[in-house]
């Protein structure tokens, strides 16, 4: 039994990214959001060919350029400089979102402000009146991509749970999240519950549940984890 007051150390940001990368099958077309999701690309196992889509009109996005090789015409959705891999292609925004909305992107990894126990995602607005709202492509991605992974710290910086019974922030999409990767656990959104399928080293179930507003269950046989 863990002590609620004691902070245990879970996975680092790079570990979260690696956990996600290992769940991405060879041959997948993947869109990565900003933040931890961006780290996933570098963690894909060498024997898998995964192609990255960025919604501003590029399929076959490569790693960041070397210093001095930045091209202002070659950026990703986060407006960072990127490169292309052989076999890349450019297209306009309507075609890019036809890929997304039409179900042609296999997996999207997004950050989150909140995820509900039924898979609702809130990641675009705190709902405060004094902020400028900005949505970007998040609503299109969750509506169009079959498999939505969330990469996030388990709690906010001030310790508030992000996995909640119902989102209090404005929604990005309803019932869209498939699997949540945090610093403490890997958690599937199932028809019945949020089901912990894997715990970070040294972290136990109770410790995770104490930091989660939504009710968690433990997968029956965590040793035989199936990938999403």
């Amino acid at each position: 039994m863990s002590n609620p007051g004691q902070e245990m150390i879970g996975w680092a940001r790079e570990d979260i990214a690696r956990n996600i990368a290992l769940d991405i099958p060879d041959g997948s077309i993947v869109n990565l959001g900003i933040g931890i999701p961006e780290l996933v690309a570098a963690c894909i196992p060498k024997d898998r060919e995964v192609i990255f889509h960025t919604e501003n009109g590029l399929l076959g996005m490569g790693p960041p350029p070397h210093k001095g090789k930045e091209d202002p015409d070659l950026i990703n959705a986060g407006k960072r400089y990127v490169t292309t891999i052989p076999g890349a292609s450019y297209f306009h925004h309507a075609d890019s979102f036809a890929m997304i909305r039409g179900g042609h992107i296999d997996i999207c990894v997004l950050g989150a402000m909140q995820v509900s126990q039924t898979g609702d995602l809130a990641n675009w607005s705190m709902g405060s009146a004094d902020a400028t709202p900005a949505v970007g492509g998040a609503m299109d991605l969750v509506a169009g991509v079959e498999t939505i992974f969330v990469a996030t710290t388990h709690c906010t910086r001030d310790g508030q749970p992000k996995l909640v019974r119902a989102c209090t922030f404005p929604l990005t999409g309803v019932g869209v999240v498939r699997r949540i990767y945090t610093d403490l656990a890997v958690i599937d959104v199932t028809a019945r519950s949020l089901e912990v399928v894997r715990l970070a080293p040294g972290i136990d179930f109770d410790y995770v549940q104490q930091r989660t507003e939504a009710e968690l269950t433990m997968v029956e046989n965590p040793g035989v984890e199936k990938t999403a």
Binding site: D26, G27, I29, E49, I51, H53, L59, G60, T84, P86, G87, A88, S89, Y90, F91, A94, F97, A98, M99, I100, R101, G102, G103, H104, I105, A143, G144
Partner: protein, 236 residues
């Protein structure tokens, strides 16, 4: 590694099932994937719903598929071709159904299907018998007809160059419906005049990105429908 190459048209079309909806590229003979259609004839699937602008010519390609009694329904804009009686004969005999769709509406319905748009409004066909029974609606004082996105189980298309990732470029007006059909099918099957190395096609000029393509097969000596017609060929 991603490798969408198949060794033969037969392998590429092997899993097309009875009752499948199949988008077939081409406008008249230009862009018609004749070898894939002939492989489908050999393969045997029947009760197909086929989407193409036309209904084929002579007794080869799409006309041959229809002639063999394998198509239950055609969705097309112009089911007549000079000198071809295959479809009209079947149609008059009540052996094949026809859903007649204006050409631009057909193209837009396929694009919508591929783009995740279930329905849209168009001014085309308003006040005509092709709008009968369809929902209409006024926007800014003008009347429009609601049309539905069209998706399919398979697409059979032809391109000039492809790579193993499924990136495609086409030749001239043989492009026609193929790029939108590639978007709208669960499984898009492509015959390419040639398959080139990944990276050989400039990223700026790729018309169909590989994300829309599932299988590519090289058919380096593709038959021309006009030559087959001139030679009086019937398939099989």
């Amino acid at each position: 590694m991603i490798n969408k190459q198949c060794q033969s048209p037969a392998e590429a079309v092997a899993d097309i099932f009875d009752g499948a909806t199949v988008l077939v590229g081409g406008f008249g003979a230009a862009g018609s994937p004749i070898e894939l259609i002939h492989a489908l004839i050999d393969q045997g699937a029947s009760d197909l719903v086929v989407v193409n602008n036309n209904t084929g010519s002579g007794h080869v390609g799409l006309a041959a598929l229809i002639e063999q009694g394998r198509v239950a329904r055609m969705i097309c804009s112009f089911p007549r071709t000079a000198g071809s009686t295959v479809f009209p004969d079947k149609y008059q005999a009540g052996e094949i159904d026809l859903e007649l769709v204006p050409q631009g509406t057909l193209a837009e319905r396929i694009r919508a299907g591929g783009a995740g748009i279930p329905a849209f409004y168009t001014p085309t066909s308003v006040g005509t018998e092709l709008a009968e029974g369809k929902e209409t609606r006024i926007f800014s004082g003008r009347e429009y007809v609601m049309e539905h996105g069209l998706t399919a189980d398979f697409a059979l298309i032809k391109c000039s160059r492809a790579d193993r990732l499924g990136n495609l470029v086409y030749s001239k007006t043989a492009r026609n419906f193929s790029p939108v059909m590639a978007m709208a099918a669960k499984t898009t099957i492509v015959q390419a005049d040639s398959i080139v190395a990944v990276g050989d096609i400039d990223p700026e000029v790729i018309v169909t990105p590989g994300v829309f393509v599932d299988r590519v097969v090289a058919v380096s000596d593709a038959q021309q429908e006009s030559a087959l017609l001139a030679a009086g060929v019937s398939y099989p």
